[in-house]
């Protein structure tokens, strides 16, 4: 029951619900309407960006499961995206597997490799783990760059366009493919944290010794968290392989790992909705800067020349600002805005 003083649960079932109030249902309906209207309101360029956001959302949700919910820092995101992309691309181009099957296998393979690279997490914590995952990123990069047989010595894999996709309506069709996949992935992630498995992840994050004491199997929780998170990341990588139709190592470097970490920091660690906000923010930022830069560049040519550097600077400043001013990210800002409206005209 929602009142001005907060939400009161009278049964455990009610507490476990994903949405508690009418306002939440109303907002969900609004978002769904918006998502259905978007493809007809945007032009091809912005629809392309919307599609990249949808793919990034899946990856960011995966990373947040690991970093935000389980507290295991990972700099290996780019490597795991690469595993997903390469696996699905190789399976469908060379073995001729149907695309959905190739994607599923890619998810499983990435999950397995994620669990493998998660093994150091059983012994290492915090900073050491960050460095270990940095190594896994570099090693995966080495493998995909130097093992020629992966790309048949071309250095890249060309993925044929999905047969039913037309050139004119490319972005629109992809939007309708990606939207449901992303929606289901986000919903799944949200639901994981209503189960005992998800709760055990959070217990490991909050206080691992206490978690062990109340009977959480830490080994299992950590390895499962790595596998589950990598599964989402593998899906994101596989989708990006079919969407962009080429797979090259340049798209999975350490910078990509950093970009995804920035997404979940800006969005909010330990929040599924936050990963979505963060992915939208971080993917829109460069596009908007380009737009603004082109407008301003007409009068001040300096801005056009320096646009890449300015983008990098703003990327860094955004991360630093969020960490210093609102470490819990956009999700927290959104919660505060809602509270402000709910309690208006009182401050609290």
């Amino acid at each position: 029951m929602a009142t001005a003083t907060g939400i009161h649960h009278r049964t455990y079932r009610a507490e476990l619900r994903l949405r508690h109030t009418k306002a939440e249902w109303f907002r969900l309906a609004l978002v769904i309407v918006l998502l259905l209207v978007v493809p007809y309101a945007l032009n091809t360029y912005w629809l392309g960006i919307a599609n990249s956001i949808l793919i990034a959302v899946v990856g960011a949700v995966g990373l947040n499961i690991l970093v935000g919910f389980t507290g295991q820092i990972s700099l290996g995101q780019g490597g795991f995206l690469a595993v997903g992309a390469y696996t699905s691309a190789i399976l469908s181009t060379r073995l001729g597997l149907p695309v959905p099957l190739a994607i599923i296998v890619a998810i499983l393979v990435t999950a397995a490799i994620g669990a493998l690279f998660g093994l150091p997490a059983l012994r290492l914590k915090g900073l050491y783990l960050a460095i270990a995952t940095l190594a896994s990123q570099e090693i995966i990069m080495f493998v995909v760059r130097r093992w020629g047989f992966l790309t048949e010595d071309k250095g890249y894999i060309e993925v044929p366009r999905l047969p039913f996709i037309e050139r004119e309506t490319f972005e629109l069709q992809w939007y309708w493919i990606l939207l449901p996949i992303t929606f289901v992935a986000v919903l799944m992630a949200r639901n994981v944290f209503r189960t005992s498995l998800g709760r055990s992840f959070m217990a490991v994050r909050d206080q691992d010794i206490a978690a062990e004491a109340i009977g959480v199997n830490i080994t299992r929780a950590k390895v499962t968290a790595f596998a589950l998170s990598s599964g989402f990341v593998g899906l994101s990588g596989a989708l990006s392989a079919y969407y962009t139709e080429t797979v090259t190592w340049e798209r999975f470097t350490l910078d990509v790992s950093v970009l995804y970490l920035a997404m979940i920091i800006v969005g909010g660690l330990g929040s599924i909705a936050g990963s979505v906000y963060g992915a939208i923010f971080m993917m829109l930022l460069p596009a908007l800067l380009t737009e603004v830069g082109q407008k301003a560049g007409d009068s001040i040519p300096f801005i056009t020349d320096q646009l890449p550097a300015i983008k990098n600077a703003i990327f860094g400043i955004a991360i630093i600002t969020f960490l210093l001013i609102e470490p819990r990210g956009l999700d927290r800002i959104w919660t505060r805005m809602k509270d402000y409206v709910r309690f208006w005209p009182f401050r609290y």
Partner: protein, 290 residues
């Protein structure tokens, strides 16, 4: 044999620069428990500050070095005061991310002022070579080893003998105990960042003198991680041993096996060390079992 000697000199020179870069990293970690992902950008920034003073402002190299050192100290103190201090006591992920954000900003600043093209800088170190045991040794690399050794020795003496050095070690050992003894932990934090920036400046200038002033200098920052893990995250002798080992290993692998493999071999060592002995050769062992 001569090839082996040459590779050894190259490896030692690389290793000496790595040790300097790692020294700054370890200083920061020891004093403040911050993992600095912007170490490579500190090298880059240092190299460009020296370039500005030396080539753009046409100062003699000694004066240029002084300008560079002052710039590095200011950079270190500013970074500590405005970026890291508000995050004292925050989780590891926040601290890591803030230094990553910082690295992005520093790199962008360099890119804005100097562009991405390679800058030519007149060589400071003599470029000739000398014959030794049938091998032709480049003089500048031998000198790099010497300079790095002198700087590292100076730092070691500073920690052992000077008041501030001892205060730094006290803070690294136990912050609260140091506070009760009247040591200003804030000043020590600032000092650690300033010294780290200075040692990065030396490393950056030496690196720029061996190759060129360019954006690639920053990539040295990542190889620092294998070095410090091998030596131990909080050990200053460890940086020297780790730096030289990784430097030699890279040169031998690229000389005798495959240059591509040389890029990844430090990380393989890193994973192996983490599996077997996570606190490195000289690192302080902290036992925490779950």
């Amino acid at each position: 044999m001569s090839n082996f000697l040459l590779l050894t000199v190259y490896g030692l020179a690389d290793g000496a620069i790595l040790a300097l870069a790692a020294l700054g990293f370890v200083l920061i970690y020891k004093a403040t428990r911050v993992i600095n992902f912007a170490q490579g950008e500190f090298l880059l920034f240092g190299a460009y500050m020296f370039y500005t003073a030396f080539v753009v402002m046409r100062l003699p190299w000694i004066l240029a070095s002084v300008v560079g050192v002052i710039g590095a100290i200011i950079l270190g103190v500013l970074v500590e005061r405005f970026v890291l201090r508000p995050l004292v006591g925050e989780s590891a992920i926040s601290v890591i991310m803030v230094t990553i954000g910082l690295s992005s900003v520093l790199k962008a600043l360099v890119q804005m002022f100097f562009g991405t093209s390679v800058r030519e800088q007149p060589k400071i170190l003599p470029t000739g070579s000398i014959e030794f045991l049938g091998a032709t040794m480049p003089v500048n690399r031998l000198l790099v080893i010497l300079i790095a050794a002198v700087v590292l020795a100076a730092f070691t003496i500073f920690f052992r003998r000077s008041r501030h050095g001892i205060a730094m070690r006290a803070v690294a050992d136990d912050q609260q105990a140091a506070l009760t003894m009247g040591i200003s932990v804030r000043q020590i934090f600032a000092l650690a960042w300033a010294l780290a920036a200075v040692s990065a400046l030396v490393a950056g200038v030496l690196l720029a003198d061996l190759s060129a002033v360019e954006q690639n200098i920053a990539s040295f920052g990542l190889i620092v991680f294998p070095v410090v893990i091998l030596g131990g995250l909080d050990s200053i002798p460890g940086t020297i041993v780790g730096g030289l080992t990784i430097g030699l290993l890279k040169q031998y692998v690229s000389g005798y096996a495959d240059p591509g493999l040389a890029e990844v071999i430090p990380y393989v060592v890193l994973v192996a060390i983490l599996m077997v002995r996570p606190y490195g050769i000289f690192g302080e062992t902290r036992i925490e079992r779950v």
